[in-house]
Amino acid sequence: MSWGLSSVRVVFGDTVALDGVSLDVGPGETAVVVGGDGAGKTTLSRTLAGLEEVAEGNVRRPDRTGYQPESSGVWNDLTVMENLEFVAGAYQVEAARASGRIDQLLEVTDLGPASDRLGRHLSGGMRQKLGVAMALLSDPELLVLDEPSTGLDPLSRVELWSFIGLAAREGRAVVVTTAYVDEAARAEKVLVLDDGYVLASGSVDHVLSALPGVVYESDHPVGARSWRRGPTWRVWSPDASLPSGVTATVTDLADVVTVAALARETGG
C-alpha cells in the first residue's frame, strides 16, 4: 500500500497553494519535496497530515500518520521525556511498550543525556531530532516531516538524516520537505515544487535524465538562461547546441531544479 497525493489542488482564497500535485511513496521509501520559499512545501506536508482541505484530487494517508510541523512541534515547557511521554499517552501506546520505544528513540537520537531538559533549552538540532522522535513514537506507517533540517548546522543535518534513514529502513513511508537541493539525493523519490506547481518528479535518476537539452559551463553569463554556480556560470541550452570547443557538464539535482524553474519562467 502506498500513500500520497493524486492531482491535489489546495486553494486559500484567491491563492492557489498546490495545483495538480501528485506524490506516491511506498513502505520503506523516502520522498523529498524540494522547493524555495512559498513553493508549497508546508501546504503539501499539512495536506498529507490531514490539516488542509483539498479543493480537487485526493489524499491517501493511513490512520497512523506521524507529522512534524515546521516549528518542530516540541512543547517548550515540557522536558524531552515529558514530550515523548505525552505523545505516547496521546496515541495510547501501552505503558511497557511506550517505555521501551522511548528508550530506543532516546538512544538513536542521542537525546538520552538531555531527557530532563526543557524543550526551550534544546539546540536546534536536538529539537528537530526530538520532533522526529515524537512523530515516530506512534509507530506510523507514513512519516511526514516539514523542513526538519532548516537552520541546522551541517553535522546536525547529517545526524538528522541518519535518523530519518533509520525510520525508512523500519519500513515506513517517509516524506521530507526541504529547501536544500542536496538533501534530495538521499531519497528514492524527488518532487520539485515551485509556486504550487510540480517542476519535476520521479526517482533521482529519472529526474536527472529528464533534463531537457544540455548544461555547460561558462566564465561569463549568457542571457537569461545562465546562473552562477561557484566560481563559474552554468548555461542551459534547451536545444542541446553547444558553443564550439565547449562540452556539456555533468548535471546534478541543483542544475535540474534550476533548469526546471527557468523552463517554466521562460516557457522554454
Partner: protein, 344 residues
C-alpha cells in the same frame, strides 16, 4: 530621526487591531465613565408592608421607588423581599410604629437609604431603621464577593486565551490536531488546569475574606459553587473564543482586556446598576459578571437560597451555554479543518 518616526507610523498603521483599540478605547471609557460611573442613587426599589402601608407609601420621599404595597404582610415578607433582591428597602409598618429594613449588601444604595430614612424619621413619628446583612456597611464585605468574580474573569478569560494562542504560535496546536484526540478532549484538557486554579483562587479569596476581613457568609454553599462553576464556564469559553480570533498573545491580551473592562465597570461591582443611565444599564444586564455578582452577594451577604437565585443562575447557565458552545465549535473547527479528503 525622520526615518525612525516614519517607520513607527507605518508599523502602528499596519497593526489595525491595536490602532482600533487605541482610538475606540478612550471613547468607550468616556461613555462608560460618563454614564455608568455614578455613586449617586436616584431611586431605591422599595416595598411597603404592614397595616398602614398605603398611607405610609404615599408619604415616602420620591427616592423610594415603591414596587409593591402589602398591607397583610409581616416582617418575614419584608426580609424575603430584600433577600430575593426584589427591593433594597422594606418599610414594615405595624400598629403605629414602623421600621425601615435596609439591604446592606448594596453599599451605596444602603448609605443613601440610611441618610434619607434618618431625615424621614423626624417627619414620621415612631419610624426607625435597621441595616440588614452588612450592619456596619463595610466596603470589604461588598467588594470581596465581586472580587471572586474578577479573579474568574482574569484566570478564565485572559490566561486561557493566552495559553491557547501560545500553543498555536509554537506550532503545537497542529500537533494536537493530527493526534487521535477528539476536539472536546483537547478543549477540556486545555481548560482543566485553569478551571482548577480559578476554583482554588476563589476559595482562597472567600476564606481570607471571611476570616480576615470578617465578610459574613449567611447563605449555603451550593448556589455560590454552582454560580462560580457556571461563570467559570462562561469565562473559559470567552478565553477560547478570544484565542480563536487572535493572531498572537498581544492581541489576545488586548481583546481580553476589552471584554473584561466593561464587566468590571458595568456589572454592579463598583457602581450600582440602578445609578447608571438606562442607555448603559442594559449592557450591564448582558454581562455574565453581573449575575455572578448577584449570586455571590446574595449567597454570602443576604443568605439567599438556591430558589431565591434561580433567575441569575439561569441567566448564567444560558450565557454559559451560548459562549461555551460557540467556543467549542470554533475550537473544533480550528483542530479539524479537513472535510473532503479521502482518508484510507
Amino acid at each position: 530621526m525622520l526615518a525612525m518616526i516614519l517607520k513607527e507610523f507605518r508599523q502602528v498603521g499596519r497593526d489595525r487591531r491595536t490602532l482600533a483599540m487605541l482610538i475606540v478605547m478612550p471613547i468607550v471609557l468616556l461613555l462608560v465613565f460618563g454614564y455608568a460611573a455614578s455613586f449617586d442613587v436616584e431611586e431605591i426599589p422599595t416595598v411597603v408592608i404592614g397595616d398602614r402601608a398605603d398611607a405610609v407609601a404615599e408619604r415616602l420621599p420620591e427616592v423610594f421607588d415603591v414596587e409593591r404595597i402589602d398591607p397583610a404582610g409581616e416582617r418575614a415578607e419584608a426580609e424575603e423581599a430584600l433577600i430575593t433582591g426584589e427591593a433594597h428597602v422594606a418599610f414594615l409598618i405595624d400598629d403605629g410604629a414602623g421600621i425601615a429594613l435596609i439591604d446592606g449588601s448594596e453599599l451605596f444604595m444602603a448609605r443613601a437609604a440610611v441618610q434619607v430614612v434618618t431625615a424621614v424619621e423626624n417627619q414620621i413619628p415612631g419610624l426607625s431603621h435597621e441595616v440588614l446583612f452588612n450592619p456596619d456597611l463595610d466596603t470589604s464585605a461588598v467588594l470581596v464577593p465581586g472580587l471572586a468574580g474578577l479573579i474568574i474573569v482574569f484566570v478564565g478569560t485572559l490566561v486561557t486565551s493566552m495559553s491557547v494562542v501560545r500553543e498555536r504560535e509554537a506550532g503545537t496546536l497542529e500537533q494536537l490536531a493530527v493526534m487521535p484526540f477528539r476536539p472536546s478532549d483537547v478543549f477540556i484538557g486545555k481548560i482543566s488546569p485553569y478551571f482548577l486554579i480559578a476554583s482554588f483562587d476563589i476559595l482562597v479569596v472567600l476564606v481570607i475574606g471571611t476570616l480576615v476581613f470578617d465578610v459574613p457568609f449567611n447563605g449555603t454553599l451550593l448556589p455560590l459553587v454552582l454560580g462560580a462553576v457556571l461563570f467559570l464556564f462562561v469565562a473559559l469559553g470567552a478565553g477560547v473564543l478570544i484565542s480563536s480570533v487572535s493572531e498572537n498573545q498581544a492581541q489576545a491580551i488586548q481583546l481580553a482586556i476589552m471584554t473584561a473592562l466593561p464587566q468590571i465597570m458595568l456589572s454592579g461591582i463598583i457602581f450600582p446598576l440602578s445609578s447608571m443611565a438606562a442607555g448603559v444599564r442594559w449592557i450591564g444586564y448582558l454581562l455574565p459578571l453581573t449575575y455572578f455578582n448577584i449570586v455571590a452577594k446574595g449567597t454570602m451577604l443576604r443568605g439567599a437560597s438556591f430558589s431565591d437565585l434561580l433567575m441569575p443562575l439561569g441567566l448564567l447557565a444560558l450565557l454559559g451555554a451560548v459562549i461555551f458552545g460557540l467556543a467549542v465549535v470554533r475550537f473544533a473547527r480550528q483542530l479539524r479543518p479537513v472535510r473532503r479528503e479521502a482518508r484510507v
